[in-house]
């Protein structure tokens, strides 16, 4: 049955809708000129490195077709790597190589491909096959993340990242998205991925939803979703808070992955993070936005990433 909530009840629950996000969160806080910095992953990378924010290491960039012939020699030094389009969208065009078998390249599935296949992939990337609007693009070669095993039982395919929403420098809400067989390995909630809301104070799972309805176990692996506890939580929250400094985006989505040895790494920044995080958390964003605004009007607002992260962990989780 189609059940509708009254707008008044949603407002009382503190839910932020798309219109309000677009006008009050994005248009008023995110200067248009900063968008290219987050839409182009190469620029994001440069920005993060300048500010010393942990991110997967950039090994190299292919900008022109002519450079492809230098690739085999260059790649010799890196047994494993990830190749991404700099302006890709929706996770398209990512090639992961985990090792070598003679001159062939080994994919995570164990399948081997010849260099010609890698070259073709680079060529497609450069000509804009994967980029938004088909713009000519660059191919980034990144160090592979050695994923922390914390999520091993919780994902159908790929490794989930942690999305933290940062409002004016204050990390205010977090979740992780777990792909399922139903979502076809994609981390999109409306396609059937499971969203797990994470307590901003502790990194413990609060609740999990699939298709807007609460779930307790992962539909494919059967793992208990409520027992997720993300390690190094304070580091993750501080890392997210730092990203505000670099990007100057008042409403920012920070995607973090956990490396087994390097700790939290920023994978991507997003200038238009979505609202599904509210459903995953079972909370609305509005009271947290209001609390941050109220704090910023006072004299004693913390002005360091550590201070802001601390304040968020202390105060926001209760709202």
């Amino acid at each position: 049955m189609l059940r509708l909530a009254s707008p008044l009840r949603l407002k009382r629950a503190g839910i932020v809708g798309m219109n309000r996000r677009n006008v009050e969160l994005i248009a008023e806080n995110n200067p248009r000129s900063m968008f290219p910095l987050v839409d182009d992953k190469l620029k994001t990378k440069a920005l993060l490195r300048k500010d010393g924010i942990a991110a997967p290491r950039l090994l190299g960039v292919v900008r022109q077709t002519g450079q492809i012939k230098e690739l085999p020699a260059f790649l010799k030094a890196f047994p494993s790597f990830v190749m991404k389009p700099s302006q890709g969208s929706g996770g398209k065009g990512i090639l992961v190589i985990t090792g070598r078998d003679g001159d062939s390249y080994v994919k995570p599935s164990g399948k081997t491909v010849p260099f010609a296949e890698v070259a073709r992939h680079v060529n497609n990337t450069l000509s804009g096959l994967f980029s938004l609007g088909g713009k000519p693009d660059a191919a980034m070669i990144e160090a592979m993340i050695d994923f922390d095993p914390v999520f091993d039982d919780y994902s159908f395919e790929g490794v989930p990242d942690i999305r933290v929403i940062v409002y004016k420098g204050f990390p205010m809400m977090a979740m992780t998205r777990l792909s399922t067989a139903q979502s076809d390995g994609k981390a999109n909630l409306h396609q059937g991925a499971v969203g797990v809301g994470l307590d901003i104070a502790t990194g413990l799972a609060m609740r999990a939803v699939q298709f807007n309805r609460p779930v307790h176990t992962h539909p494919d692996t059967g793992a208990d979703l409520t027992s997720i506890a993300v390690p190094l939580w304070r580091d993750i929250v501080e890392l997210a808070a730092q990203c505000y400094q670099s990007s100057q985006l008042g409403y920012l989505g920070v995607d973090v992955v956990l490396d087994r040895t390097q700790g939290p790494q920023v994978l991507e920044l997003n200038a238009r993070p979505g609202l599904a995080i509210q459903v995953a958390n079972g909370r609305g964003m509005a009271p947290r936005v209001a609390a941050i605004e109220a704090l910023l009007r006072t004299e004693g607002a913390p002005n360091t990433p550590t201070g802001r992260a601390q304040w968020s962990m202390d105060v926001l989780a209760k709202l």
């Binding site: 009382r12 398209k92 804009g128 994609k186 807007n212």
Partner: protein, 510 residues
């Protein structure tokens, strides 16, 4: 000034200008607000026939007059061999046809378009002399005196006198007196003549007004006779048959104040007959014609000042903002997803050409077939521009196939596939295909449904006569549409779809 205040002022200014101009045109210039109010337009036709014997011919036909309720635009037609012009003699306007040496039966037509409302009635001058006293012979004199005495006693002024006399002449109360004056069988025409005579006998200046009522289509019209009399301060019209005062709204006077109806010099057996045709003229044309006739400054610098073909283009273009409004409402208030922001408007405009069901069917067939073929192109890993170019050619081929196969099968509707803008369809297929790859087929269905629903609603508004009439006759209402869109642009409340999306969050709080 904050952005919000600026917006509020802007919206207020837009509303005032838009609604103000509309109100001015409606209240002062008399533009109708609904197409129904004056969509009746008559074509009246007078046909003159006579026989010519090779002598020079000059045929004259009196022209109909405007009344307060009717606006008349004469359209004389010159048949082969005749010269035509309009001549004014005193207050009488005549159509004149001339030919040097016609022979045989001649047929001349005069046509006039008659619009409801906005007519400029000719002002008759006050009568200079009292009318000549008619002379009644005995025994009519006694009967006339009796009628006049009764009418005089039962009236206060000239109009009242005429109404009372009319009642006696047309009613049954004074039947014996009437029969004395007119005999057993009397026609409307003879009674009117008598009424005039009686009025003149009591010193009331009056004349006959001959014309006909504009009703529905009529091959031959019967002439009716009204009376116009001077009540001491102004001319009054009296309908003696009905016993009412005032010019009837749909009466077209053709001949008045002793004018002749027609006159043919150089011909014999001349006759004239009248016919009327009710035209279903589009309200838009009506607004144009009204606009040109009233000629106010607001209209001189409006869409009405443009050539007619350009006006037609604008009639379509002015509907686009309505489509934009629908898209804004559907996306920002309802929360529907559409493929391409304004693609639904273009689709809606195609529907206007093809009809809704045909359009929907063609769209689904073309885009569906296109998606299947585009799916194959994906596996070829083509570059973007060649890929879209390939899709474009596929679309062209599909159009041709649909048209040819449809035509051979006798489905003529398939031919209207050509109304779909090819580039837009190609891009739609490309976008939907990318969407299918990235997000899955479900999203393609959701967006297609959203687009088609939005397009259908926009279409229904665009073909709505009231809407198309208002946008064309009152283009200033665009400012009102703009104001509404600006207001929605600042709307931060929930979308209808979000009431469903976030419903679990609201119910948990209880």
């Amino acid at each position: 000034m904050t952005a919000k205040t600026q917006l509020r002022i802007l919206v207020a200014v837009l509303l005032i200008i838009g609604l103000g101009a509309t109100a001015y045109k409606h209240l002062v210039l008399g533009f109708p607000l609904t197409p129904g109010e004056s969509s009746r337009i008559w074509t009246v036709q007078a046909q003159m026939t006579f026989r010519a014997q090779g002598d020079p011919v000059k045929a004259q036909l009196n022209l109909p007059d405007m009344t307060r309720h009717l606006y008349v635009v004469p359209e004389g037609i010159a048949p082969r061999g005749y010269g035509y012009h309009v001549e004014q003699v005193g207050s009488q306007r005549m159509a004149v046809w001339e030919a040097r040496a016609p022979t045989g039966d001649q047929r001349l037509f005069f046509r006039a378009r008659v619009y409801k409302g906005g007519g400029i009635a000719t002002q008759l001058p006050p009568p200079s002399d009292p009318p000549a006293k008619p002379i009644f012979a005995e025994p009519e004199a006694a009967a006339a005196d009796a009628l006049l005495a009764d009418a005089y006693a039962h009236s206060a002024d000239a109009t009242g006198l005429a109404l009372r006399l009319a009642r006696s002449l047309w009613g049954d109360a004074a039947k014996p007196v009437r029969e004395t004056l007119l005999g057993q069988k009397s026609t409307n025409a003879s009674r009117t003549k008598l009424l005039l005579k009686l009025l003149h006998a009591s010193d009331v200046p009056a004349h006959e007004l001959t014309g006909f009522y504009l009703t529905d289509n009529s091959r031959s019209v019967t002439m009716e006779h009204l009376i116009e009399l001077w009540d001491g301060t102004e001319w009054q019209v009296v309908v003696p048959k009905e016993g009412i005062k005032g010019m009837p709204e749909d009466f077209l006077p053709w001949q008045s104040n002793g004018e002749f109806l027609m006159q043919v010099d150089g011909g014999t057996d001349s006759k004239v007959s009248f016919a009327t045709i009710v035209d279903k003229i589009s309200s838009r044309q009506l607004a144009v014609q009204m606009g040109q006739q009233t000629g106010a400054g607001l209209i001189d610098f409006s869409v009405f000042a443009l050539p007619v073909d350009v006006q037609n283009t604008f009639a379509t273009l002015l509907l686009i903002p309505i489509g934009a409004l629908v898209v804004v409402v559907m996306r920002n208030l309802v929360g529907l997803q559409t493929s391409g922001t304004f693609m639904p408007i273009l689709i809606a405009m195609v529907f206007v050409q093809t009809d809704l069901l045909v359009g929907l069917a063609l769209f689904i067939v073309v885009v569906g077939a296109g998606l299947v073929i585009r799916g194959y192109l994906t596996s070829l890993n083509l570059l973007l521009v060649p890929r879209i170019a390939a899709v474009l050619i596929v679309v062209t081929t599909l159009y041709l196939l649909l048209a040819v196969v449809g035509f051979k099968l006798g489905i003529e509707a398939a031919l209207s596939v050509t109304f779909f803008p090819m580039i837009i369809i190609a891009w739609t297929i490309e976008r939907m295909s990318v969407l299918a790859e990235e997000e899955g087929m479900w999203d393609v269905f959701v967006q297609s449904f959203g687009s088609l629903l939005t397009a259908t609603i926009a279409y229904l508004l665009m073909i709505n006569q009231q809407v198309s009439f208002l946008t064309f006759a009152f283009p200033e209402l665009l400012l009102v549409v703009l104001a509404i869109i600006l207001v929605i642009g600042q709307y931060t409340g929930f979308r209808l779809s979000e009431l469903r999306r976030f419903e679990p969050l609201a119910s948990e709080k209880e």
